[in-house]
Amino acid sequence: MMIVIAVVLGFVNEYRAEKTVHDLQKRVSIRAVVIRDSKPSEIESRLLVPGDLVSFYVGDIVPADMRIVESSDLHVNEATLTGESFPVEKTSESLDLQHPTPQQLTNYMFMGSVVANGSGRGIVVSTGKNSQFGSISRSLLRSHPETPFQKGVRSYGNMLLTLTLALVMGIFAINAALGHNLVNSLLFSLAVAVGLVPELMPAIVTISLSQGARKLAKLKVIVKRLVSIEDFGNMDVLCTDKTGTLTEGKISLKDYYSPGGDKDPRIIPYSLLCNTAVIGQKITGNPMDVAIWEYAIKNGAQESVTSYGKTCDIPFDYQRRMMSVVVRKDNDFILITKGAPESVLSRCDYSETLGKKEPIRDGLESIRTEFSDLSIQGYRVLAIAYRSIDLKKAYTVEDEANLTFLGLLIFTDPRKQDAHQAIMKLKEMGVDVKILTGDNELVARKICEEVDVPVRKIVSGSELTQMSSTEIKKAAEETTIFARITPEQKLDIIKALKENQHVVGFMGDGVNDAPALYEADVGISVDTAVDVSKDAADIVLLEKDLPVLVDGIKEGRKIFGNTIKYVLMGTSSNFGNMFSAAAASIFLPFLPMLPIQILFMNLLYDMSNMTIPTDNVDEEYTTTPRKWDIGFVRKYTIFFGPFSSVYDFLTFGIMLFVFGCWAGTPGSHLEALFQSAWFVESFWTEVLIMFVIRTRRIPFFTSRPGKWLAGFIIGFVAFGTILPFTPFGGFLGMTPLPAEFWVLVALMTATYLFLVDAGKVFFYKICKF
């Protein structure tokens, strides 16, 4: 059975890894225009070799890692690789950099990124598995690392195995040495072993996890790997990218203004006229032009351009870094220019605010400072200028002179409205949020400040490359923002945090995030992410929102709480009972309980526990992350196990010396009376103690159990009570018990429950969990 399970699990792991790689390959299965022998031809990208000269245009997926040799207004979207939201400008200019990060390589294009604007040519440097993309796929070709929950279950199993083996061998050896019947002794020791094994553990865990997955699905959280739910709840560090999590992941026009801070009413209409966005059912095109249109529509300014007629375009090019249009209003012709501020400003002679026109030279320095400050803060800025112009047959770039500067347009990837609240909630729940971004540190810091994430330290990718593994572990602990980092560095940070004993969650949606998603204890991706990321993730969010994470974490903690209840039940009351059985078998003239009675009690006990996954979890339990601490389970066993044994021995004493069973011999009525009495007492205490163990609250009855759990416990206790009076009880070797016994066992059980509750006051004060 175990071998079959191991084989199935191995296959599933292998299949997942293969599927991830397959999706990766599917994404990059594209065609490229290659120039061989001076002739262009279109071939499959897998046929490219280093040294090939490749042409690319807007919309192309880059087929290999390439050194750019020609570029024309080339902008590449590398978001899936680097996490940077804005398309990056690429040129063929050579660079002089030591240990450059991919983001710094502006003359390089990476396989899988998308040409957002312009065109160019590049020489293939590396292809397939040797590319940046390929190195990511290689890192996914390994089995999923064991999660802290799986490690915890394994160490718990080892602990129980050791205890069971020691106890069983001890019972058999001592019984044999005392001259008891060997076959009976063997059967008895085996029954004790069966009683100790938490055979329901896999079922409890699976039921809890699948119920949790169903609840999470209603919250728009899809769980792909069930076992990760528990770690989702226990996660104490969440690493996330900035784009789409803290920010909307979409460029928008934040503001615009003229020199001096006033808003000239012509800025928006002129920006709409000097614009390449395509207006259809959806606005498409250059992200910044789209953002201007969206802003205008939102503010009802789109009608302002109806009185203008466009007569000529002077398109954007990389050398000028701007575009112009000539428009007609009534009998006047106006040339409007929009582009990079440094380019536009160099062609301006005047600046104008609200109709007041003056030479630009006086205010030029302050405009440049303003632009520089905005750039440092991570804003993208465009300048807008105009001039009156005469009607001509054709207009050229030469006409872009003597312009009047009108103002600056400021673009940003705005912060999400609910990000602050969600981060504060995560902090309250003991989850430390770290930002791992491909963007620069200033942009990341600004966003963190906006959403009020306290920034302790910022480390850049280039700083990380200089660090030893020990330094990375230290930095991982102290740092809030890792900026300009590579996929490999994300992986290093996750590994370092795991080595620092954290349960690490990682949220990402790009190809560059796949290795980190795979390595993290909980890989979280989003529905809109690339397939590779979704496949590498354990959990997929249908909406990329932090608030949904809060609900997910809470659910994970509840599931973990219920799993731990079963573990604690097994290691305390159940273990105490089996220990008593072992000890009693030594000094009693007959077996304290028949093997069949032990097995049947074990069956009833397990069935009563089947409803643990439906139990309520105290609100305070979900406020902090918990880790599977085998040391805590061990302490729980040595502390609460003996409580159960004390009451077992007390039952033995009462039956032997108050009800006279000491005179019993094997097969006698007194033996059956003793065994029936202990069956009832141990079953009552073993099952009813769940009400005490399931909560940390004092007294236990202040915490309301789930209705199914309460119903099952009471139902099974009732069944165990009437069993000795039934023919089936007789079949199990039981006999009806006297009325006085029922009074005494009820009082004993009540004392036992209250005493264990009092023990909790002491235990939880000294043993934190």
Binding site: E620, T623, F639, L650, V658, D757
Partner: protein, 135 residues
């Protein structure tokens, strides 16, 4: 008449369980104090510069506080030891005596005491947790 050998065996077994529980409690208590000391070692080092007399006074106060806290923290152990004596006594009365009645009454008294203790400690745990978290 009881079989003394069996009764002694039984008394040893139940006493051993309670002794084990008592020892386990002291062990857990001691190890938790050691861990707490370990955690605050840095802080203690900083305080090493304090004057000797201050330290001596603090030590004496701490000793008194420790004795008080042991009496208070181990209440359930004292109850358990009391129960052990009571249980052995009531069971020893044996068949055909008032054994059942004594046993029943004793349990009811202990339950009343325990419920009183639990209700007194009712809000203690969450309050302590809150303090720890905020600290």
């Amino acid at each position: 008449m009881l079989t003394i050998d069996l009764f002694v065996w039984w008394a040893i077994s139940i006493s051993w369980s309670i002794v084990f529980l008592t020892v386990a409690s002291f062990y857990l208590y001691a190890s938790s104090r050691a861990k707490r000391k370990e955690d605050t070692r840095e802080e203690t080092k900083r305080k090493m510069n304090d004057e000797h007399s201050v330290r001596t006074r603090a030590y004496k106060t701490q000793l008194k506080a420790t004795a008080r806290s042991i009496a208070k923290n181990f209440i359930f152990v004292w109850i358990l030891l009391g129960l052990l004596v009571f249980y052995i006594f009531s069971v020893q009365l044996g068949t055909g005596t008032l054994s059942e009645a004594v046993f029943a009454v004793g349990n009811i008294v202990v339950e009343a005491l325990l419920v009183f203790y639990l209700v007194r400690n009712r809000d203690k745990m969450p309050a302590e947790e809150q303090t720890e978290r905020s600290g």
